[in-house]
């Protein structure tokens, strides 16, 4: 009630100054992700070989001095392919998540704020979408047209819209009960102002945490879709596709699958840790302690 030692506000201090007090998982997450982001941005120029250069003489080479992570059945350098594939895999996750947020957040806001018939209609539509198992929805979307990576992104984006809508709506409903929203209504604010200036800023922290987890799911789902041939297309070096193509050779040349597998694991662990760290950082209950 009467709290005499005001708790220092989290956002009012510089990030750098607070580095020692940042959650450990956040720091590890960033450390794991940083090289991947670099690879995603500059993958092609860092790679020792072009990702699609074939060399029949050196196919299925084990890791060595020339090819750090060996070569695949076409003699392509696995390391270069993995490096170049970073962009494809990360973009898949981030873009699909962005898409689901872009569509889901406004719908969730409206459903939560408006309620009534509009809200009901939105939520029932989401129910229908949600009653498809995620990968099924992805397959269905992709089965309508020839596969391509951007379509996989759209498909995954659509798959996760209901979750985002539900979360946004739940938070909005909760916020609608908050008295500061009542105060805004009392002073005669428009619905748009309340939605975008009062509610939205309070939705971001939980959404950011949710988004980081969604990115993980999207990356994995994207890899799965590529794996069954409905995502990225050869000769692209998307990780899921690489692992899928490596299957027949896994016994002779396990490195073809292991290299992108480890990259995928690093990305997922990194983002998970980032999400955990973010949660700890943004959770009001954890101000100070983590």
């Amino acid at each position: 009630m009467t709290d005499a030692t005001p708790v220092q506000s989290a956002p009012s201090r510089g990030l750098l100054a607070r580095l020692p007090s940042l959650p450990v998982s956040l720091i590890i997450g960033i450390v794991l992700l940083a090289p991947l982001v670099v690879a995603a941005v500059a993958g092609g120029s860092l790679a020792p070989y072009p990702y699609d250069e074939m060399n029949i003489m050196s196919r299925l080479q084990p890791p060595g001095a020339d090819f750090w992570f060996g070569t695949d059945e076409f003699g392509r350098d696995v390391f270069s392919r993995t490096l170049v594939g970073t962009g494809s895999s990360l973009v898949m996750g981030v873009a699909a998540t962005a898409l689901s947020l872009l569509a889901g957040v406004p719908l969730g806001l409206i459903a939560g704020y408006k309620g009534g018939r509009v809200g009901e209609a939105i939520m029932r539509a989401m129910d229908v979408l949600m009653s498809f198992p995620p990968i099924l929805l992805g397959i269905l979307v992709l089965a309508v047209t020839p596969p391509a990576q951007w379509k996989a992104i759209v498909a995954i984006g659509i798959v996760y819209v209901p979750q985002v809508v539900r979360l946004t709506r739940a938070i909005t409903l909760e916020l609608m009960q908050e008295e500061f929203i009542t105060a805004a209504r009392l002073r005669g604010e428009s619905a748009a102002y309340i939605l975008f200036h009062e509610i939205l800023p309070n939705i971001w922290p939980p959404l950011a945490v949710e988004a980081s987890l969604r990115v993980v799911f999207a990356i994995l789902l994207g890899a799965s879709l590529s794996f069954i041939g409905m995502g990225a297309q050869p000769p692209s070096s998307d990780w899921g596709l690489m692992i899928s193509e490596a299957r027949p050779f896994v016994e002779q040349a396990p490195w073809i699958a292991l290299c992108p597998g480890f990259a995928l694991a690093t990305a997922v662990i990194g983002i998970n840790l980032l999400g955990d760290g973010l949660r700890a950082l943004l959770d009001p209950r954890n101000t100070g302690a983590h």
């Binding site: 949600m130 099924l136 269905l140 794996f227 069954i228 692992i243 396990p254 694991a265």
Partner: protein
């Protein structure tokens, strides 16, 4: 509770009805068509048309939908155009195999996952907790297909201990049946375990901080009673929901795992149907998969309500 169940069932029926229309339209929109698929490479137009007429594909969509929907209401899922067999038995068989996978995998996940989650929550911050967290990270970090490949490599190719693909009906004997299940189940467990363990851990931690747990301690209850009787029962509520949803997911087919292990469940049936462009089979499979998924969700909610006396009794009011 009854009213709630009824309401949910009505919703379910509505959702499925809407979905059936959606599924029907989407499958119609698919490129490629079944008549040319049946006619094969380079069939002439007349051949394709003749097949289309024979299959009734020339009729207006609404009529086709009407026939289809009426059939489903009668329990007739139609005939597979490619397999030229009634769909229902094929689907039931695949569903049965998916059911086996789901039940076995979830039984393992539930026991191990909840156990680990409780252990981690009770030993929060200690080595055990960190070990469990680490293992569960590994579980979610690596995609299921990667685990599957590793398992095939290790147990099938190197150790030659387990069959790496296919399915043996129980009529072949218990051992072949069970041995074929091991790898897909282990893969599924690796995939699902982490979530269950982490969820149990976090809800357990929440429950351990509640007043009623504090009050149970104030009554001098031993820690084991506090954890197992007072905390666990309440902490399991969200876990039950997720388990039921996972159940629906596996029942609806885990396409990737079924592909790698050549497991003839719902996922591969669907993939088969899509690849062969067998519209009735696609429609029926999606409908059944979605219905199974919805039912699992519904069961989750009902189970949640049933386990939670507050909702069980208060359902009428809400």
């Amino acid at each position: 509770m009854l009213a709630y169940t009824l309401t949910r069932l009505v919703y379910l029926a509505l959702v499925l009805a809407v979905m059936s229309v959606l599924v029907f339209l989407v499958t119609q929109a698919m490129p490629g068509d079944v008549a040319s698929m049946i006619a094969g490479q380079f069939a002439s137009k007349e051949v394709v048309d003749a097949i289309a007429v024979k299959l009734g594909l020339d009729q207006p969509l609404i009529v086709q939908y009407g026939h289809w929907a009426a059939g489903i209401l009668r329990g007739d899922l139609g005939r597979s155009l490619v397999l030229e067999q009634p769909i229902a038995p094929i689907l039931l068989e695949a569903l049965g195999r998916s059911l086996v996978l789901a039940v076995v995998a979830l039984a393992v996940v539930a026991v191990v996952g909840i156990g680990l989650g409780v252990l981690a929550a009770v030993r929060r911050g200690k080595l055990t907790d960190q070990l469990v967290s680490g293992v569960s990270y590994l579980g979610i970090a690596v995609p299921d297909f990667f685990w599957a490949i590793v398992l095939v490599l290790v147990f099938g190719s190197y150790l030659k201990l387990l069959p790496t693909g296919g399915y043996a009906p129980i009529t072949d004997g218990f051992l072949p049946w069970a041995s074929h299940l091991v790898l897909p189940v282990v893969t599924l467990v690796l995939m699902l375990l982490a979530r269950i363990a982490r969820l149990t851990r976090s809800s357990m931690i929440d429950v351990l901080q509640t007043n009623y747990v504090k009050f149970a301690r104030a009554k001098g209850m031993p820690e084991s009673v506090v954890i197992l009787r007072h905390a666990l029962k309440n902490a399991l509520l969200p876990t039950i929901t997720v388990l039921a949803i996972d159940f629906g997911l596996i029942l609806g087919g885990v396409v990737v795992i079924e592909t790698i292990f050549s497991y003839p469940g719902m996922g591969r049936l669907l993939l088969f149907a899509i690849q062969r462009h067998d519209l009735p089979l696609i429609q029926a499979t999606i409908l059944i998969v979605s219905a199974a998924y919805c039912l699992a969700n519904l069961t989750a909610d009902l189970l949640y309500a049933f386990v939670n006396p507050k909702i069980r009794h208060g359902m009428r009011a809400s």
